[in-house]
Structure formats: structure tokens, C-alpha cells
């Protein structure tokens, strides 16, 4: 049976996030075209490591240099953490639907080794590598002023 080699980008959940941390700067801006400076996304991912940095929207300085230096560490920490949490997730889902479920399948649920799957992941990976516009960090910073589960509207954009 012929099995095409699994590409590096055919990762289980969490893989894309890790890839994001490495940043495809040459490609960014092509799709969502936001033109945001390099700070945002990298700082976000720096905060994702096991030893958590302060939430990016909390700090006064969103220094892009700091974001860059932390990126590698965050990506590594994530790589280690991903499989455990994935198991947990699958377990959780299996419990929720107890009775009507078949046993969980492979991590992606779809063979990643075929051409279509690779292409789909490649395109989606490009979307994922887009820098996050600052407005999202500003929103989270605003939300952080109110306790989670607090009254709606105080942090929304008024829609």
C-alpha cells in the first residue's frame, strides 16, 4: 500500500499554533492585509508557554523585541504540552457524549496523508500565520477590567 510521506505541517491540533510562533513574516499581510507590526502575534504566543508571561494586553509595553525572544521558548513549551491536553480533550468529549460515540479516532479525524488534506492544511496554515490586529488585544485589555462572567456590554463594542 502506498502511503505518501506525512508532511511536517500535517500536525494534530496545536501544530498550527506552534507553526504560528515561528512566524512566516514574508507571507503575512497578503491575506488579511492588516499591516500590523510584528509585536502582536508573537507576544501572544510568548504568553502561551508553561511559565506564563503576563497577559500581553496587561503589560504597558508591547515590545516587539521581547515578543521575538520569547517566541521560541513558547513554541517549545507548547510542543511539549499539546499531546497531554489533546488526550484530555478527547476524553472530555467522549464523556460528554457517553453512549452514542464510537471510540475517538486519530487526532485529526481525517487522514492527513493525502494530497487534499495537505493542501487544505497548507492554505489554512497561511490563514493562521496572519498577524493578529491590535484591536483584539485592546478588546481583551478592556475585558480584563471586568471580572469574567460579569455583566455584558461593559466591554463590548456596543453592537
Amino acid at each position: 500500500m502506498v502511503q505518501p510521506p506525512v508532511e511536517a505541517n500535517a500536525l494534530p491540533a496545536g501544530g498550527f499554533q506552534k507553526k504560528c510562533g515561528t512566524g512566516n513574516r514574508d507571507r503575512t499581510g497578503a491575506l488579511l492585509g492588516s499591516g500590523i507590526g510584528p509585536g502582536g502575534l508573537h507576544v501572544a504566543f510568548a504568553a502561551r508557554g508553561n511559565r506564563l508571561a503576563p497577559a500581553p494586553w496587561r503589560g504597558n509595553d508591547m515590545s516587539s523585541d521581547e515578543g521575538k525572544t520569547n517566541t521560541a521558548a513558547a513554541a517549545t513549551a507548547q510542543a511539549g504540552a499539546a499531546p497531554a491536553s489533546k488526550d484530555q480533550n478527547v476524553q472530555m468529549m467522549a464523556n460528554v457524549n457517553n453512549g452514542e460515540l464510537q471510540p475517538p479516532e486519530g487526532p485529526s479525524g481525517m487522514e492527513a496523508s493525502d494530497a487534499l488534506g495537505r493542501q487544505l492544511k497548507k492554505v489554512y496554515g497561511k490563514l493562521l500565520s496572519e498577524p493578529v490586529p491590535d484591536k483584539f488585544f485592546e478588546l481583551l485589555k478592556k475585558l480584563d477590567q471586568i471580572p469574567p462572567g460579569g455583566k455584558p456590554d461593559s466591554g463590548s463594542k456596543g453592537t
Binding site: 499554533q17 502575534l41 506564563l52 472530555m92 468529549m93 487544505l120 490563514l127 493562521l128 462572567g149
Partner: protein, 186 residues
């Protein structure tokens, strides 16, 4: 200090690129996608006390985003009866936004799928959710998700002129028969 753990907050931030990618794939429009993500973050924040630490935050966020999308869509359709092809037109009219040709081709192919197939193949095939998780997010049975993913894959392969290799193609049988024949010879 807020109630949400630092871990949860960090996960919230880390999920933003995924939420944007999924929202863009659903809405086909960057502004609308970003509105959806903002709406999702605000809703999630206000419901964060109902979220259990240690469970799947990303799947939970995707569920919120998906619900927001369909609720907006229903509203929108009531207000403007004919939106057929609008999604496709928006995608097609901004080719420069999408850069690479293969990317544009894939987005246009995705756009030709029925909504429920598009989201199924994105959640499972692109985002990497298990069938069970995708079923949770879409509020349907696991078997339904599996069949939607299969139909979406077949349709995408056809639109993009990709021969599905392992699971569906005739090659699998051919190779198996060949291998059996070779085994028999020895």
C-alpha cells in the same frame, strides 16, 4: 486580579488566529470575520465562569463563534432576502487579498460547498479537531460529521482536480490486489 486563570487567558489569546481563520472561512469577508471573533471573545469572557478549566477551551470558543455566525446569518437573511452568491462574489472580487493561486483556488472551492460541509471539513481537516469534537461544536451526531467531511472531501477533490489518494481512490484496491498477487507468487 480577575477570576480567569492566567492559563485560560493565555489560551484565549492563542486561539485568536484559529478563530480568525475559521471565521474567515465561514464568512468569506475579513471585516465580518473580525467582527465575529470580537463577538466571540466578548461572549466567551462573560461566560468564562461557566467554562470548566481543563476542558477544551478552543472547542468551546469555536462553538460560540459558530453560533454567532449562524445567528447573524439568520438575521441577515431575514433583512436581505437574496444573498445567494454574495459570499462567492466577495471572495472572487478580492483576489489580490488572497495572494497565492493555490490558496485562492482552495478558498473558492471551499466556497462552493454547502455551509455544513464546509465547516465540517474545516474543523476536522484543517483545524484538526477530532470527529467527536467537531460534532460537539456543530451540535450534531458524529456520524453526520463523518459523512459531511467525506462529501466535502470528494467535492473539493473534484473541484480542485486532486485525485483522492488513500481512502477513496481506486488506487487502494489496485495496490492491495497487486500486493496480494505478488504475495501469492512467492
Amino acid at each position: 486580579m480577575t477570576v480567569a486563570s492566567e492559563q485560560t487567558q493565555a489560551e484565549l489569546v492563542a486561539a485568536i488566529p484559529n478563530l480568525r481563520a475559521f471565521a474567515l472561512s465561514l464568512a468569506g469577508n475579513v471585516d465580518r470575520a473580525d467582527d465575529l471573533v470580537q463577538e466571540t471573545l466578548v461572549k466567551a469572557w462573560h461566560k468564562l465562569d461557566t467554562f470548566q478549566d481543563g476542558t477544551n477551551l478552543k472547542a468551546w470558543l469555536f462553538t460560540i463563534l459558530r453560533n454567532a455566525f449562524y445567528s447573524d446569518l439568520r438575521k441577515h437573511r431575514r433583512e436581505t432576502p437574496d444573498v445567494d452568491g454574495e459570499h462567492a462574489m466577495r471572495l472572487a472580487s478580492h483576489p489580490e487579498q488572497h495572494g497565492h493561486l493555490d490558496m485562492q483556488e482552495m478558498l473558492q472551492a471551499l466556497d462552493k460547498l454547502p455551509e455544513e460541509q464546509r465547516e465540517a471539513v474545516l474543523l476536522v481537516g484543517a483545524e484538526g479537531f477530532a470527529y467527536e469534537e467537531a460534532a460537539e461544536i456543530c451540535g450534531c451526531a458524529v456520524g453526520t460529521i463523518k459523512s459531511r467531511v467525506n462529501r466535502a472531501r470528494n467535492k473539493l477533490a473534484e473541484l480542485m482536480h486532486i485525485t483522492p489518494e488513500d481512502d477513496f481512490g481506486p488506487d487502494r484496491l489496485g495496490v492491495t490486489v497487486l500486493a496480494a498477487a505478488q504475495g501469492a507468487k512467492r
